[in-house]
């Protein structure tokens, strides 16, 4: 069964410290992985996706098929990074996106 696991409900990090939001997935084929973000009082929006191999707002994510992980990383946290982050998966067979439960990132001043 397809599943996305985000083990941390809340992650608090000091400004300037590195950030790592964990995401593990379960999928029998070749998945596409995404990170979505929701800032306070804003809409859910795409942050980055594996297929684009891009860095957005200083965030990167590497797909590790051996560990079935897609952790989101940023070397130096900024206060504006405080938000809810959702890891998501889509299978190669269909376009349905499955979301994890989300991790709230709180950047401390």
């Amino acid at each position: 069964a397809q599943r996305v696991t985000q083990p941390e409900k809340l992650l608090s990090v000091f400004k300037g410290a590195p950030v790592e939001l964990k995401c593990n997935y379960s999928y029998s084929g070749s998945p596409e992985l995404f990170w979505y973000v929701q800032y306070s009082r804003q809409r859910l929006q795409l942050l980055l996706r594996h297929i684009s191999r891009e860095s957005i707002k200083g965030f990167t994510a590497d797909l590790n098929k051996g560990e079935t992980s897609f952790h989101l990383k940023k070397p130096f946290a900024q206060e504006e990074d405080s938000a809810m982050y959702y890891c998501a998966l889509s299978g190669s067979q269909d376009d349905k996106i499955i979301f994890g439960k989300g991790t709230r990132l709180h950047i401390l001043p």
């Binding site: 996305v4 809409r43 959702y86 979301f99």
Partner: protein
């Protein structure tokens, strides 16, 4: 460009009542999605339309939920009758096409409280 519009933004109803939500996608977007997001969880896809046809409604509780997109533009999602467990935020999203290569754009959501 204008984003995905949803109304109402908030709705409070009693159990066994009916409720309808409306979504207007971004102009030109062929694919429209309805998601249910229960507190503390990620969004869960209820139904996906490609123009006015249903692509996936496997997770839609069809005994009480219905959705339509008659002219391939606006869409409505209805719950009849509502249950307490239907309390959630209902998100509408749209994309140019149904491929995962096209970004989904989300609306602000409708927060439903069933008492």
């Amino acid at each position: 460009e204008a984003g995905v519009a949803q109304s109402p933004r908030y709705k409070i109803i009693e159990k066994r009542q009916s409720v309808a939500f409306w979504c207007n996608p971004i102009s030109g977007h062929a694919t429209l999605y309805w998601y249910q997001q229960i507190l503390g969880q990620g969004p869960k896809l209820l139904i996906q339309f490609q123009n006015n046809g249903v692509v996936d409604d496997s997770q839609l509780p069809k005994d009480r939920f219905s959705a339509e997109r008659l002219k391939g533009v606006d869409s409505t999602l209805k719950i009849q009758p509502a249950k307490l467990e239907d309390s959630a935020v209902y998100l509408c999203a749209s994309s140019l096409a149904g491929s995962l290569y096209y970004e989904q754009y989300f609306g602000p959501g409708t927060r439903l409280t069933v008492t």
